[in-house]
Assembly symmetry: C2
Homo-oligomer: 116 residues x 2
């Protein structure tokens, strides 16, 4: 178990604004400029009340942590949740409670990605 990279993953989750972002990616606002089911950076800027560079910074961290996927669609960047990142976090939580380093995570998880 790599404590440093594990800590990095949890660090990505350790900010209220980033948690809001993740929540917005599951329940996108109705008036999303990238269309329903999708969220672009400008949406997040409005919803979070943060400046554009700040949003960009947070998204970079979330993508690097593997929690979010960024896809360039023309002028916009479309962000979607990455279930694998959550699965990994859940596995880590399970592993922390097991005497053996690696362990089964919470439940058998089958996540509905972001169905649009």
């Amino acid at each position: 178990m790599d404590f440093d990279t594990s800590a990095e993953l949890f660090k990505a989750l350790a900010d209220p604004n980033r948690l809001k972002v993740l929540k917005l990616l599951v329940s996108p606002p109705a008036n999303s400029c990238a269309g329903p089911g999708s969220v672009c950076a400008c949406d997040l800027e409005g919803e979070l009340g943060l400046a554009q560079p700040t949003v960009s910074h947070h998204m970079k961290l979330l993508v690097r942590a593997g929690l979010v996927t960024a896809t360039k669609r023309g002028k916009w960047t479309e962000y979607t949740l990455n279930p694998q990142g959550f699965e990994q976090a859940c596995e880590l939580l399970g592993a922390l409670q097991q005497p053996d380093s690696n362990a089964a995570p919470c439940p058998p998880k089958t996540l509905q990605g972001v169905a649009s």
Copy 2:
């Protein structure tokens, strides 16, 4: 869903040394001064290679986050994992992936609440 308190919980997990502590609490070193199955602060100090006040600081955070329970046993303080804290973290991970604000996470849980 309270993003601030949720972030606090993940923040407690967002440090390599604290993750090591949690791992040590599941698999205590054989030569624990508090006896097998228990871990006291002096054990952690040796295992982590950190100064005593630093260990005390980390343990305070873990206890405050609900991940660890501290019990005074005479001169020593015995630390044990608190499964409820892990359960809550797991629930948060699940809730973040569900369109509804509060949702059934890892353990089978029926929880209804307010949408933010």
